[in-house]
């Protein structure tokens, strides 16, 4: 069976087979390299998706969603992405159905839809702020100071505002649910304050009502049946009937009145304002 016993005819024939095998190299499809770079997170793809404030561009790679921005011109978005992130980007040929469904749910404010985020090259502090913003339920808001206290940096209120302003994935990370410490709606990076009001309204909040409460100096709402005080948009506060609602101007005032803090919205974290 070895070449020696079969030589020389087999040698010729083996050589012919080997020559035939050598013609079997193939060229990789043109899609392989770009898809590979996206998969490892060295390039991104994007698509336009509907949101409560109209279409937005969403970019992602194999590590997670990397950017959400208002949909103006595709070329403008691409240029901004390259400037901010420094990676190549191209329109997605198609979006896998599972990713599309998860994106739709997240853009509509449903934070339960699992969606990995690619927040490389961002600071530890920024990531902590964004992770905390993700804990705010749909239809509720928290002041900047609340985030600062919750992440253990109670004095970093301005830095929290700045980190939220630099949120690369607005809507997906709901920075629109963080409002000024005086209760006013405040600024918004994705197209300005009007968009913030529109998104909050789409999530079932009444921005005007919130601001008139804030102007009246009301920061907390207590229930005289439970003896618990909450932030005004906490789902527990919304259940309090008018007859039992007790407005408070400060956490200290609530505590002095014998109320304890709600364990879900943790209003004491918004006490510094």
């Amino acid at each position: 069976m070895t070449a020696r016993t079969a030589a020389p005819a087999a040698t010729t024939e083996f050589a012919a087979i080997e020559a035939a095998l050598a013609t079997l190299s193939a060229r990789a499809p043109a899609t392989l390299a770009p898809a590979t770079l996206v998969a490892v997170g060295l390039a991104d793809e994007y698509v336009a998706m509907p949101s409560p404030i109209g279409d937005v561009f969403v970019a992602w790679n194999g590590r997670g969603v990397s950017m959400v921005a208002g949909a103006t011109e595709a070329a403008e978005f691409e240029a901004r992405f390259r400037d901010d992130v420094g990676r190549p980007i191209r329109p997605a040929a198609e979006v896998a159905p599972r990713l599309r469904r998860a994106l739709e749910r997240r853009l509509a404010g449903d934070r339960r839809a699992a969606l990995p985020l690619d927040l490389r090259h961002r600071t530890e502090f920024e990531r902590a702020v964004w992770a905390k913003a993700l804990e705010i339920p749909r239809g509720e808001v928290r002041p900047y100071g609340w985030i600062a206290a919750e992440i253990g940096r109670p004095k970093a209120v301005r830095a929290v505002g700045s980190a939220l302003g630099h949120n690369p994935v607005p809507l997906v990370v709901p920075c629109h649910r963080v409002v000024r410490s005086d209760g006013m709606i405040g600024q918004y990076s994705l197209g300005g304050p009007e968009n913030k009001r529109a998104i909050l309204a789409a999530e079932g909040l009444d921005p005007d009502g919130l601001e008139s409460l804030a102007r009246a100096g009301v920061r907390f709402i207590g229930s005289d049946t439970t003896g618990i005080y909450c932030l005004p948009t906490c789902h527990n506060a919304k259940r309090i009937t008018d007859r039992h609602r007790v407005p408070f101007r400060s956490a200290a005032q609530s505590v002095a009145a014998g109320y304890r803090a709600c364990r879900e919205c943790r209003p004491q974290s918004a006490a510094v304002a």
């Binding site: 069976m1 035939a20 193939a26 390299a33």
Partner: protein, 220 residues
Amino acid sequence: MDLHATPPTSTSSDSALAAALAADLDTTFERLVVEQQDRLYTIALRMLGDARDAEEAAQDAFVRAYRALAGYGAERTRELRLRGWLTTILLNVCRNRVRRPGPALLAIDRRGPGDEPAASDHLASTDVGGSPHDAALRREAAVRWARLVTALPPLYRAAVVLRHVDGLSYAEMSVALGKPEGTLKAQVHRGIVMLRAAAEPFEDLDTPRAARTNVQEMTA
């Protein structure tokens, strides 16, 4: 016999690339993909026999390689013999490939159904001039050889593909497959013998009929 010898530069460019990867993985990785994609795709295509499976396997292998490199220190990356190392990863991917229940959430879907190219569409070396008829014949022969290779038992298929389709040296194969060169030489030889036997029914083998008959008698 060594018709598809490894180019002498491959080892030195391999170590230059390994050094570049060790210095900066993210800016060098694309070069690794561009330089190695045809090889990995070819091996996967010949191991799996399907263009779409091969593309997925090659991508999967690159992703695994990237993750591994991201965890290696510079020293370890510099020492890598990249061609053999990547081949090991790819063969593992091919071996472990089972029908998956569904793509991962962020899987990149490259093509829609129904527009998969035939395996022969990507053949790199069949278009070497001659009449259209010759080209068609060569393509036909290549498709047939590809089928025969894919029908080999995995052990011999890997050996034959790495040696004669990809052109790895026995030293590199020994790295890739973790077996002594002697064992691999025997496996390649056995694979070729099996291919010859399987090719028997075809009339237009590029080998004189008499020679083949002769060999059969001698090896019977």
